[in-house]
Amino acid sequence: MVSREILDGLRFFQGLPAEYVEQLAGIAEERNVEAGSMLFREGETASHVHIVCTGKVSLQIRVPGRGPIELQTIGPGELLGWSALLNNGPMTAAARAATDCRLISLNAVQLLALCEHEPRLGMEVMRRLASSLSQRLRYTRLHLLDVYRHEFPPSAAGGGQS
C-alpha cells in the first residue's frame, strides 16, 4: 500500500481517474533497493511489475562464454518486469540495481485480478503497458542501428563494418 501522491508523480499513472489511482495504490508497494542487488534473475518466474521512481537498473543477459552482458539501463519513469502481466513465463533478462533505487512494485496476480474486475482500469493499464513497450522497442531499434558507426575508420570498427 502506498500513498496516492507517490503514484501521481509517476508518468505511468498520469491521466488516470483518481479512483483508479487509489485502487492501484492499494496493491502497490514501495521498495528501496541497494545498489548491486538483483531485482530478478533470468529464468525466474515474474511476480511483480516494477516502475522505477529514482535510480537506475541495469538489464543483463547471460551469454554462454561471455558472461552477463549489460544491454540497457532502465531509469526513472520506466517499466520493468512486464512479462509478469503477460504470460507469467520466465524472465528473459536479469535486472540488477546499478544505483540505490526506489521502485513501485505491483503484484502481478493482484493487478490482473483488478484489471478483470474493472475492465476500464484494465484497459488503461494495458494501454500504458503497450506504450511503454513501444517506447522500449523504438529505442532498442535505435540502439541496434549503431548510429555512430560512420565515426569509426574501418580498422577500428568492430564487426567488419566499413
Binding site: T73, F152, P153
Partner: protein
C-alpha cells in the same frame, strides 16, 4: 600584401584562406583530436569573432578542405579549438600535423546556436558522438553567463565509454550547475553508467516544457528521435534547434552541394530551428 588588401581580396574572393599555426594538439578519444589554431595575421585574428555553432574550413594545400566546427569558447582569446574526427583524406592529413605547422583557415561560417533565445530559459543540450564539439562553445558561453539561464542539462551519448568527449571537463561543468547525463551503446568492464540511446535520457527528464529550449547535434537519426521525445513532452517547435550536416565545399552558398530543400546548410545553417526544416526532415533522400 597589406592587411587591407587581404581584406578586400577576401571580400572579392571567398576562396582565400588565412594562414594559421597549430599551437596545441590534444588527443581526445580514438580517432579524435582537438587542435588549437592561432591565426598568423594579428589584424585578422583581432577581427575574428564567431558564434557558438559556427565552423571554419581548414585547408591543407594539395589535399583539400574540411568543415570543422569551432569547439572553443568565443570569449577565449588567442586560439581557436577545432575537434576533428578522422574521416577522409583531409582529416587524415590534419591528424598528422605537428605543433608549429600551418593550415589555411576560412571562416567563420554558418549560423550559430540561438543563445539569445535561450536566455531566461531551461536549456537541454542533446548530443551524440562528435556532435558535442559544436555544442561545447554553448556550454562555455553558459558557464560565462550562468545566471542568464535556468536549468541547464547536457545529455550526451557515444558508442563506447572511450568515445565520450571532454570527460575531464564534466566535473567543472557540474560544479557550475550543469547537469551532465551520459550514455553509451556498448559498455565495458569499468562502465557503471547508463547504457542506451540519448533520446531515452530525454524521456527521463522532469521538465517544464514551456520553459525549455532544446539544442541538439549528432547523427541525424539520433536528432530525429530526440526531437520526437521533445515534441511528445510538448516542447515548442520553435524552441527546438538542430545542427545539420551536408557535403560542404565552398561554405558560402556558391557550389550548391549542401542544399537541403531551399536551404544552403553552409549559410542558412548548419543550425536551424526545427520549424524551419521540419518539412524536409520528413522526406526521404532529400
Amino acid at each position: 600584401m597589406t592587411p587591407l588588401a587581404i581584406r578586400e581580396q577576401a571580400a572579392c574572393n571567398p576562396w582565400l584562406p588565412t594562414p594559421a599555426t597549430v599551437r596545441g594538439i590534444y588527443p581526445e578519444t580514438p580517432g579524435v583530436q582537438t587542435y588549437e589554431l592561432q591565426l598568423d595575421d594579428p589584424q585578422v585574428a583581432a577581427r575574428f569573432h564567431f558564434q557558438p555553432g559556427q565552423f571554419n574550413m581548414l585547408y591543407l594545400p594539395g589535399i583539400g578542405e574540411a568543415a570543422i566546427s569551432i569547439s572553443s569558447a568565443p570569449s577565449q582569446a588567442g586560439t581557436l579549438a577545432h575537434t576533428v574526427r578522422v574521416a577522409g583524406n583531409v582529416t587524415q592529413a590534419l591528424s598528422r600535423l605537428r605543433v608549429g605547422q600551418r593550415v589555411g583557415v576560412r571562416g567563420p561560417y554558418g549560423t550559430g546556436w540561438p543563445m539569445d533565445a535561450c536566455r531566461g530559459r531551461d536549456v537541454v543540450l542533446a548530443a551524440g558522438g562528435i556532435g558535442l564539439a559544436p555544442l561545447r562553445p554553448v556550454i562555455y558561453h553558459i558557464l560565462h553567463n550562468r545566471s542568464d539561464f535556468g536549468r541547464v542539462i547536457l545529455l550526451y551519448g557515444s558508442r563506447t565509454p572511450g568515445d565520450l568527449l571532454y570527460t575531464n571537463e564534466y566535473p567543472a561543468w557540474r560544479e557550475e550547475g550543469i547537469e551532465v547525463e551520459t550514455t553509451v551503446d556498448i559498455g565495458d568492464d569499468q562502465w557503471q553508467g547508463n547504457i542506451g540511446v540519448v533520446p531515452v535520457l530525454f524521456y527521463r527528464l522532469r521538465l517544464n516544457a514551456a520553459r525549455t529550449t532544446l539544442l541538439t547535434c549528432g547523427p541525424e537519426i539520433m536528432i530525429r528521435f530526440v526531437i520526437f521525445e521533445a515534441l511528445a513532452r510538448r516542447v515548442r517547435k520553435d524552441a527546438i534547434f538542430l545542427s545539420m550536416e551536408r557535403n560542404m565545399q565552398c561554405a558560402v552558398g556558391l557550389c550548391g552541394h549542401c542544399q537541403l530543400g531551399s536551404y544552403f546548410v553552409c549559410k542558412d545553417g548548419p543550425v536551424f530551428s526545427y520549424r524551419a526544416v521540419e518539412p524536409y526532415l520528413l522526406v526521404e533522400d532529400l
